[in-house]
Symmetry: C2
Subunit: 335 residues, 2 copies
């Protein structure tokens, strides 16, 4: 029987079609082949990107030369421009502002044919370190209100380059969805005097059915009101609103659960396109008590999205309990 379920943070209802549950093999699609040929993120082509912001590289190599293992560069076709002055203005009855901001690329590995799901834990840790370093640098810029770290994997998830990379956008505004989470978690905190995300972790641990994996510091589960088949969230077990506070020890556990979850998705769904986003507090530190940073991973398996954009209404053909079971069953080879 279909069930309507409500997201406890932003109060969005979704339809979970429990009756005709779609299993992993129901999501067939054409496989995307990784093409060789010129790539600006390969060794030797460093001069074809804008000058690097930083890279993890041997001390005897210079910037914009090979040898690096993670490299952060400005996006060559940025959506926003860091050179602009921030100016707010009216256009008739409307509100607008100059498109100030940063748009950067984190190249996750020199290996063009690799994927985050199959890199080793150490390399994924290095990627997370690159996220953290650049995030904390940009947070110091007072013009920045929000830093969005995300990854589009595969053409159908919006990736225009196949070489493994993540992106970072630093914005002079807080995106709507984040604001909704802030408002929702604040309201919950005012009512219950507890963090809603901490409550979700407790509930998931009690129920167990939607948990995919957990370790000392992190827990990964399919959210109760999942919008999409195999949607997965990873939360820090310790309450913290700010991704930038992640400790050295936590980075190890975070990289491990992140890689394992991506690997489970890679195996169970045959390397599907996916989007991944870090939801963290605004740059001004708002939400210390009631917000809780986390990562959302959404495999792109269904095509019904356009209607759902417009209505905020989602029909999910795979109950999260089933999705969690399929992902749990994937065997993880510990390194």
């Amino acid at each position: 029987m279909p069930e309507l379920r409500k997201d406890p943070v932003i109060k969005r209802w979704v339809i979970i079609a429990t009756e005709r549950s779609k299993r992993p093999h129901d999501f067939k699609r054409e496989k995307e082949e990784i093409k060789a040929g010129f790539c600006p993120f390969d060794y030797g082509n460093e001069h074809t990107t804008p000058p690097e912001i930083f890279a993890f590289r041997p001390p005897d190599t210079g910037p914009d030369t090979p040898g690096w293992w993670v490299r952060v560069v400005p996006n060559k076709f940025p959506a926003l421009n860091p050179e602009l002055e921030i100016e707010r203005y009216g256009v008739g009855m409307y509100d607008a502002m100059t498109g100030f901001g940063f748009h950067e690329v984190i190249v996750e590995t020199p290996d063009h044919f690799a994927t985050l799901a199959t890199l080793d834990y150490k390399q994924v840790q290095e990627v997370v370190w690159a996220y953290k370093i650049r995030y904390n640098q940009l947070k110091k810029d007072e013009r920045i209100k929000y830093i969005l770290i995300f990854k589009n994997h595969g053409k159908d998830a919006g990736a225009s380059l196949q070489h493994p990379h993540s992106q970072l956008i630093a914005l002079p505004i807080v995106p709507k969805r984040v604001e909704e989470e802030l408002n929702g978690s604040k309201e919950y905190f005012e009512y219950k005097e507890r963090c809603v995300f901490c409550d979700i972790i407790r509930e998931e641990k009690r129920d167990k059915e939607r948990i995919i994996e957990e370790n000392e510091f992190f827990i990964a589960f399919a959210p109760f009101a999942s919008r999409f088949p195999f949607e997965t969230w990873i939360l820090s077990k310790k309450h913290n609103h700010d991704f930038g506070d992640i400790t050295e020890e936590e980075v190890k556990y975070f990289a491990k659960i992140l890689k394992n979850i991506l690997y489970r998705i890679y195996i169970a769904l045959d390397n599907p396109p996916y989007n991944m986003m870090i939801h963290t507090a605004p740059a001004n530190g708002e939400g210390k008590k009631y917000y809780h940073w986390h990562i959302e991973i959404v495999p792109r398996l269904t095509k019904v999205a356009g209607f759902e954009w417009g209505s905020g209404f989602y029909i999910n053909p795979t109950p999260p309990e089933d999705a969690a079971k399929f992902l749990r069953e994937v065997e993880i080879k510990e390194e």
Copy 2:
């Protein structure tokens, strides 16, 4: 220079990439071929759908036989079930309810190979009449909180059948996006004592740059803070919150502008996949003073959607002023 623009109703910021504006021919894609073969919506296959709810058909033909020109049937694979009792319950800390609701299909023409963009005005009127009739019937059901009429055109917009059809979902809840519009327009009304949508119409008529077409009763334009390239809204010039109130005369003008807009998109963008949704007030009539029904049409040209789902943050590579110009330039042959 990129510009950040804010939607005046729901206050969502989007990035308009004014610098490297994408023109219609930049959105290349594989063309979808309309396949013949068995189709449940063709003449002669009426028995393969659930029994019809109603149809426009000659008086000498019986239900579920050929001869109809518009036919409304229950969805064979409904997302919701009209037989269920509505029951709200808790699942641990979460909220859920039974998946009560209606999910129906409006078959727009017996012609398998037609498209709404190229049907004649009279036939589009008949489709709008079918929307209106079924909408007003379901509105009388006190269990129904919201009636969503929408259309997915093309596989990449989520259409699983190629035969021209729209869908209707009647829900025991109000979808999040509609609630946001209700809240936003209510807040504006409280502040300005005017309908925000009426103000938008005045502003667009003053500015002219984003208008695509208008007639005595309706106006179509590319919204100032368009999320997507060639996004188009059609508004009734007369303030009204409820689509179900559309008059006989208005249906004619509405069908005309709707068909013309879809035809402009069809020509300018070479029959792209698109989603179309009617945004109207909740079934209880809430929003009479401050809400304003309208239709949103979103061609599916870019693939960056997944990330945008998760962040509520949109990057639109085609400024609405450019989109409106391209669509205005398409020549309309009046019948």
